[in-house]
Symmetry: C3
Subunit: 343 residues, 3 copies
């Protein structure tokens, strides 16, 4: 169970309450009144804790688990050990997420600005927002209500944050308009000047970067990720996106709603991803591309062309997944043949 | 046009003034006295704004644009819509950059050290330099004149910055000598110890890193980029380089003048790039290489050998561009054939 | 020799003392009393300085060097120039590392908390620890003795650091238990929430991340590297690891002891590396893998499968090194043939 140095459980909850808040069904109604005190991983959960099975890799651990309660898809229920109470759900990971959020809700922020924070006199801070020590907030910035601004953050002049945003330590945000319930993790750099210069024989002449970064509601941005502001138009990130750590997003890039971008991806300037695009880790995009709705791109791919909606791609240069699997099989076979012949 | 929350235009300018400062020619001298109030992207510019056409992808947008004035290469002038005033230039992007810089000049820094900054008594700050809140400047550091040191920066003991440097928020600089007019963006880490250790059966023994980082005039370094100091000799970045975000530069690396390094590139220790080398995003270099003058390396390449001057390379391992295109064509054809046969 | 702006030599040392502390043998006992004032690179060392030869690339520089003393493997001794005193060692780089550490020892930290640091009243700071300006330390955090916490660091509530840790500027550490003699370089982000969410048609629902980061003694973590905390179990880094800059380590990842992870590597959630795994730059791992003891993985590889102990791998997808070399040779030959035929 979570270390009480860091986490404070809001439990216990009755099994019936967990079923209700997670939209799952108790396999045996006999156990509705059982008290569950915490969440725990499947391998280490005990009889008064709740766990979940989602990834099929963990069916073995599930069948040996001592968890008192487990959220599981009905298809996997037969693997459960004797005596385990099952919460049946078509979406067990989502159900678990809701249970874990009930045990460990976001704490309410409190109306406090630390003595060692610097808030410009013309900046506006909403109600019940917490400004941690060492924060620097520039002129005319506007922070919504119930926000938490982590220690040593820098919020530039004119920046607007919506309500209930949670900004980690040491983040910097400039030239940006941020929606509600946005989370930005430690060290992210929002709104720096893009990589823009005009090259000639006398060197590289920097082009003023005059756009903004606009981030939609409920989007989350990972640690040490960088999102440059637009050069003239804006860089735009839609609503409900999940962007991982150490991602680079260039100037004028547009992401639709619900996009998932895994760690260390690089998206070059002016490329546009439609809604619900999923990008694996370390993928690179050249600039000025259009990636269709729901496209999925495998890790380490290199995308150099527009990609139509709904397909899966892999490789560098990226090709449709099925074609890439043929390429990979061919390479594997040649390598193996050679090794066998020589070896 | 740029959001006035963040940007303040120095306009209006007469068309004649824009032509002069951008070394371009007004196609129809009739319009020299027209007042232009701002820059804007080609798609959204209005009749009192100036835009530009550089990337051929945007010829269509150009031909439908409502921009009052547009900088364009003479070859593209025929695509202009009726009534648009043209500023003809052999280098339209450079001309636009100069116009945008006239509308949005770097603001003069002012002689001010924030109350919440910590400046060691033995450090020296030049005239008209701005030290923002939360900055920490170590013993014997020397900051030139007209510099701006962003909020929560850390400048280590002994570091020297030239004049008119602009350092973004939350940057750290240690063991470094920095030239004039250098710009470093948020969160960059200059001068950390390199990745040096001697491994034996009893583990990894850290080797003291006793060199410096030396950065030439007018070089720009991206957000969250890391440049390690030398192990014994120095890590050196030449003049007028452009280094993008999240780049890793190892100890003892040497970059010549005018190099361009796109985001997420990694350059291993002691590799040397001659002048005007261009490196695409996510490229990796092994250590101790010599890359010739003007070499261009495509995105995601893996460079494992010295590369002679003036050529273009691609692939991992990197090969001459033409050879790489043959490899890629071969892979594509095999993949496609297979898919067709099986599909 | 190191710039005295930044480094202060503890020398001179007699040659005999250098031999003893580096476990090497003086080739000619005549010179035991010679005073050596400093270390220096092989190309620039003078007659009262000590250098080393390790990488065979530098044999030429060695044979022309003016270094008074040089640490060298007995096999290379014959290349030495006339008059150079040789310190013979089976492990010349390790011997040099010990000599350089004698000249430039870690300075003792002093018992001082800067006025502009914020230390929560319930936090505990060990003896002789230095807390630099702008540091923010949360409730109930415990910092060991003789630690140095760099300027503008953020140490979250409940975090524990062992003794003699050295934390660079602007690091953030949350939800973490850190061993003794750990070094963390500037801007690293330890303990942020992992990339965990349950996706459904109504969007991505964030899963609370309830684990910790646990880091073993003597491990070093590079600048701007990110290590996410576990989702339920912990993220664990063993003892004596060396992790370079801009590395991403996902939630629940486990690294054994003595692992080496070069810059810009990405390790996805729940992947486990056994002891002494070596990972080249920009390698990516998918999640839930098991990588055996002593595995070595070449730069830019993409690892998608479990890898058994003791082997070398390369490529994306990664295959055994020998097989990869056949693949690369095949690609090279086809590309070359085509170019020759067409060219």
């Amino acid at each position: 169970m979570p270390d009480t140095r860091f986490f404070k459980s809001a439990g216990p909850f009755k099994v019936s309450a967990l079923a209700e808040l997670s939209s799952s069904t108790i396999a045996d109604q006999h156990f509705v009144d059982k008290d569950i005190i915490d969440v725990a991983p499947i391998e280490s959960a005990g009889s008064d804790q709740v766990s979940f099975l989602d990834n099929p890799l963990y069916v073995g651990a599930f069948s040996k688990s001592n968890a008192g309660v487990c959220v599981v898809h009905p298809d996997k229920a037969s693997h459960a050990p004797e005596g385990m109470v099952l919460l049946l759900s078509e979406t067990p990971y989502l159900s678990y997420a809701k249970i874990a959020s009930a045990f460990y809700p976001e704490l309410d922020s409190i109306d406090k600005t630390a003595d060692t924070a610097f808030v410009h006199p013309t900046a506006v801070i909403g109600k019940k927002s917490t400004i941690k020590p060492g924060v620097v907030i520039g002129a005319r910035a506007e922070i919504g209500s119930q926000c938490e601004i982590g220690a040593n953050c820098v919020i530039g002049p004119g920046v607007i944050l919506g309500d209930q945003c949670k900004i980690g330590p040491a983040v910097s945000i400039q030239y940006a308009l941020i929606g509600d319930r946005v989370r930005i993790f430690a060290g992210a750099r929002i709104g720096e000047a893009g990589f823009g210069f005009a090259s000639s024989e006398s060197g590289h002449f920097t082009v003023p970067q005059l756009g903004r970064v606009i981030i939609g509601d409920e989007t989350e941005i990972g640690a040490n990720t960088t999102i440059d502001r637009g050069s003239a138009a804006d860089t735009k990130i839609g609503k409900g996106c999940r962007i991982d750590n150490l991602v680079q997003i260039g100037h004028n890039v547009i992401l639709g709603n619900g996009c998932i971008v895994v760690a260390q991806v690089g998206i070059s300037g002016s490329t546009e991803l439609d809604d619900f695009v999923v990008v694996g880790g370390q993928v690179g995009f050249t600039g000025h591309l259009k990636i269709g709705k729901g496209v999925q791109i495998a890790a380490q791919s290199g995308v150099m062309n527009d990609l139509p909606a709904g397909e899966k791609y892999s490789g560098s240069p990226a090709v449709p997944m099925r074609q890439w699997m043929q390429q990979a099989a061919m390479l594997r076979s040649i390598g193996r043949k050679k090794v066998r012949k020589d070896g």
